[in-house]
Each structure stands twice: as C-alpha cells, then as structure tokens.
Amino acid sequence: MKPAQFAYRDPVTVVEALNLLAEYGEDARLLAGGQSLVPMLNFRLVQPAVIIDLNGIEELCNIQVAGDRFRIGSMARQASVESHRDIIRGWPLLVDALRHVAHPPIRNRGTIGGSLAHNDPAAELPAVMVALGTRMILQSAREQRTVPAEFFFVSPLETALAPDELLVAIEAPVPNPSAGWGFAEISRRHGDFALAAAAVQLIPGETGRAPGARIVVTGVAERPLRVSEAENILCEGAWSAARDKAIRAAVETAVEPFEDLHAPGWYRQQAAGVMAARACQDALMRGADLAARHD
C-alpha cells in the first residue's frame, strides 16, 4: 500500500513539462490531482520510473470566458470549476454533474483534466464533455492539436493522448442561455461511480438549422456513448409517455453494459434508459422555462 520508488520532477511551466514528457515518454506518468493515480501508485498497479507533478504549473489552472468560448485549464480543481460564477451561469450541466463526482475532499484536489485523461468508463466528466461538444487541446513538444471530445475517449483508461502529449485545456462555445440540459445518475451511494448516468444538452435551432440535442450515457459502455437514435426521438416534439418509452428503448439497444459486484448488466441497461429519459425530460422542462424567461 505504499508507492514503489520513482524519480520526481515538478516543472513550473508547460514548456518544461513537455520537455520532460519528450525525454521520458512512456516511463513517465503525469500527476494531476492524484485522486486516481495515487491510489494506483499505492496499490502498485502502476510503477512509473518518473512522476511529473503538474501541480506547480499555474498557467494550467485558468478558467476563462474569452468572447463566445469557454476555456478551462486542465489543472483547474473540480471544486473551483463547480463554484466559478461564469461556469455556473453558462455551463450548468457541468456544475450539476460535478456534484456527483465523489465528495468535496476529492473535488478540492481532483482536476478537470486529470479526470478526463484518466477516462474511467463510469466517470461523469467524460460524458459531460461529449454532451457539451467540448474540444480537447493537446500539446506536445512537437505540436498542438485539437480533438473533439467524441473522439478523445477511446476505451477504459485509454484516450487519444500520445505518450508525449499533455491535455492543456478544454474549450467549447458558450451555450445559448436558453438551452435546456439534464443530468441523471444512479449510484450505490452519493459520490460513488455511476452504475448508469446520462447527460443531455439541447441545442436550440438557429437560423437555417434545426434544433438538436446531445444525449450521452456513461457507466454502460467502453466509453461515453452518444445515442443518436434517442436524440432524433427527443427532437421530434413535446414530451409524452410514448416518447419516454421510445427513448428508453433506444438507449437500451445502444448500450453494451458490463457486469460487476455492484450491478448485473441487465440492471445497468435498464437504468441507463431510465436515466436518459429523466435527463431528457428535465432538459425539455428547463429549456421551456429558460426560453420563457428570455422572451
């Protein structure tokens, strides 16, 4: 239950960190908030030769609204994102989902980027990133590139990050203030990983574009799963018992739930449908409320 030996590097700039990554590559692990990596070190599930601690890099902690875009630095603590005024106003889906991420002492230390780069298949934040249409900014000593959230999460604990790349920030357009959203989760205790959860963001129609929605479920597949069939059903019109049933059926068909000691696969499958339907209904109600307020 104690970490094996490692060499410790604590860069204070992104450039320094990238040079260290280029030097050590797969021998190194990046230490963000440590709420997933340190347990793995304690259990010796991972024994990296080098730990590159990102906690001294202030430039990675910024939370900015620049024009019509949000940008959250990867080392922003989950607790500081959750209590940030602009995020509360502009990205309520993210704030609501964050309250389901473990407990306050974990969120005080845990970071946005750490959770995303770790990519636990039952985590909330990856699903929310896909629902919000976020883009991941990846940087290495070689280049900077941008990957849409939908293509960033590959499989459990695997992302599009190359061994020499660092997730520096996430970025997305500020959503239309009248866009409805919903988040629903079922877990054994508050703060546990999701047995099933769903994140829904509505995208109001603009000139020449039909309204849309992103419905993403987590805990029931290899990665956050966007269910386009359910999105189509949701966009057809007002809520009804038939629509609720159709959305649940679409989600149940799409998921590939696994089984563990917490819940059998069939339970997760049904729960995912119910969570998605609840989140959809909340999104429609909120959307209507918000639109009425802005008229």
Partner: protein, 165 residues
Amino acid sequence: MSGERRTVRTIINGEPFEREIEVRLLASDFIRHEAGLTGTHVGCEHGVCGACTILLDGAPVRSCLLLAVQLSSHNVETVEGLGTAQNLHPLQQSFWEKHGLQCGYCTPGILMTMKAFLAENPNPSTAEIRTVLAGHLCRCTGYQQIVESVVGAAQRMAQLPDVKA
C-alpha cells in the same frame, strides 16, 4: 537501496516543520511518522474511507492521496490543531456530548471535513450534512449520532460568534 530524497518545508497546525524524506512518502505517513501527529488515521489508503482527511490551505483533502513533497510551502491542519483536552473545539465537544463516535477511528477525518463545511454552511440541513458525510465511512455509529453531533456543533458555534470556525 534508497530512493530520491527531498526536503519538505511546510507549516503544520501553525508551526513550521521541515524534514528530508523520500519523494515516494505519502503525506499521511509524513504527518504520522515524521511529524509524530498520529491523530490523522490511515484507513484504506486509496481515498475511499476519509479517515486521513486533513485541511490543506483550509480545504479538506485526503492525505493518503498526496505526496509529502506536495506539502512544501502549504499550510496543513490536522485534528491536533482543533482543540485541546481542556479546551475542545465546538465540534469535538458536540461529538462527545451526542455520542458521535465509538471507536474513534473515522472521527479525525470527519472533524476536519466538517470544520471546513460548517465554515461555509453555518446552518446546514441534515440532508446537506449527510451528503458531505457520504465521503466518510464509519462502522460503529450508523451515522445518526454523527449527524446530530454536527447539528449540535453548528448550534453551539452560532451561539459563540467569536469561535474560530
């Protein structure tokens, strides 16, 4: 064979503390074995049980998920900083009076989390207390008396406006 070493300079319960340690040493073990403050308990060592919770710059965090080297230039508060046997902190007094503990293993972590929680929520509902308490495992009390203890502490602190939250 010994691994890479570094000197940690930190402040624990208001007192500067400096020690050269191995970089792989956990903050929980640093506090217990180097600083000798054994009030911080080690339960699961993977962030689940909450027994090792300390305040880092005023915010509750799991000390088993921190490296000791990460404490450098930061302020640490442990249960030893709360009160003394003669002069208990209102939280400690209330846990005593309301039977908020039996074996006491989980108590220091709960006290540290609740200290920060009550500072931000001086008049919490029992539902809010239970949500925060979900981050701490207790095998003795069934949690009911812990909730009552926190309610009692909040009332006590409201009556003593000068008490250090």
